[in-house]
Amino acid sequence: MSAPILSVRALERRVGDVEILRRIDLDVMPGEAIGVIGPSGSGKSSLLRCIAGLDEVSGGAVMVEGRQTRPGDGAVGMVFQQFNLWPHLTARENVALALKLVRRMPAADAAAKADAALARVGLGALGGRKPAALSGGQQQRVAIARTLAMEPRVLLFDEPTAALDPELTTEVLDVIRDLAAAGTTMLVVSHEMGFIARLSTRVVFLDHGVVVQAAPPAALFGAQAEPRVRSFLQTYLDRVAWARDA
């Protein structure tokens, strides 16, 4: 059995008196796609931000390939709900900037690698556009390309389609699905339950900063769901059903 690529050990995060994450343990094997679900405020974003090193942890450790991570060390890449592209740069420049400044690639090589990354997310022709001239789905795909180009060991997605119109979510979800199929190790926070069920090797359900259940989707979305998970999913189904009737 191979070693986990990512291990989260007894991870805790407190801000003042508020316990946001409580002793989270999670081992992720290379090539796994972990879906992270749970109610609003349960700590999903906090978990991803702690793994990325953007939020300070109060206890425990995050290791990638046995080494403690630091933001910017290239181990972890993250895609945000709000894309977080740099508006003054074209799509190609957004992707190429870190290649030039961090990887010290010559400008021409960086641009070529940026174009390859953009092509991989289906945006080969739009490298010259600034973010403002791209749709939300296209912007999010540029953000994915920007992260991919740096070849992180683990990719984190925090509600990558939550800021998108429904008809634009598919193009982004398709890209994430392709990456997972190509063996990218990833954690995905999303409220798109159908997508999570089909994508994930395992699903983690968080509530109040605690992992309530971590199981393959067939178990977690099926008969073996914990009561708290079941009631959350029921609420979710009710909402979808209501939306269909409306």
Binding site: G72, F80, F83, N84, A98, L101, V102, A143, R146
Partner: protein, 208 residues
């Protein structure tokens, strides 16, 4: 006519002096203003003291302090250097405030993305924060440059031969103060009109 012929050479030189002194002060102001803005945002005490001093003490007093106090504590600078330095340091305090305002407009997410991708804080400052906020800061920075052009008239008190000082000399040598000061004022106005044009020229609202 005679007045113009007598005035022209000295006022021309004085105009050049005012322009390059102001430009140097503005440049110093920006180069110091950027790290000062970062330090103020980081809550550094010295930066807050710096900004309070230069914004709270009249520039004229600052110039006189630099002129009289620096030699007293053993720092012997040519008056021109002391004057430009004081003007630049004072400009930095105001520019730091403008730059902080610009930085506040940069979305935090873009900075987090830069940090995760491995950009250093300096690279993030130069390649992300400054360019993103540049358009928003431009009008205020140019207003500050205009203030500096006008404030540079104060360095005449420490004997620097710039526009105001030259106009004073011209007024007493020709016994014609009114045309001398009118010419002087018109030249300041022209310099600042040019700056205002620069400020409006690439207004983002009107850009192609």
């Amino acid at each position: 006519m005679d007045f113009i012929i007598e005035a022209l050479p000295s006022m021309l030189w004085a105009t050049v002096a005012t322009i390059w002194i102001s430009a140097a002060a503005v440049l110093i102001g920006f180069v110091i203003g950027v790290p000062l803005a970062v330090a103020c945002d980081g809550g550094r005490g010295w930066a807050l003291v710096y900004v309070s001093f230069f914004r709270g003490v009249p520039l004229l007093i600052q110039l006189l302090l630099a002129y009289y106090a620096l030699p007293f504590i053993g720092i012997d600078l040519p008056p021109l250097v002391a004057a430009i330095g004081t003007l630049g340091l004072c400009c930095a305090a105001y520019m730091a405030e403008i730059i902080r305002g610009g930085f506040a407009l940069v979305p935090k997410g873009g900075l987090e993305a830069a940090r995760l991708l491995g950009l250093t804080p300096l690279q993030t400052l130069l390649r992300i924060r400054l360019p993103i906020s540049a358009q928003a800061m431009r009008p205020a920075l140019i207003s500050e440059a205009i203030l500096i052009v006008k404030a540079s008239s104060l360095i005449s008190v420490v004997g620097i031969l710039e526009l105001t000082r030259s106009a004073q000399a011209l007024a007493s040598s020709t016994f014609e103060p009114l045309p001398a000061y009118a010419l002087c004022g018109a030249i300041y106005l022209l310099i600042n009109l040019a700056l205002m044009l620069v400020a409006r020229g690439r207004d983002p609202g009107r850009a192609a």
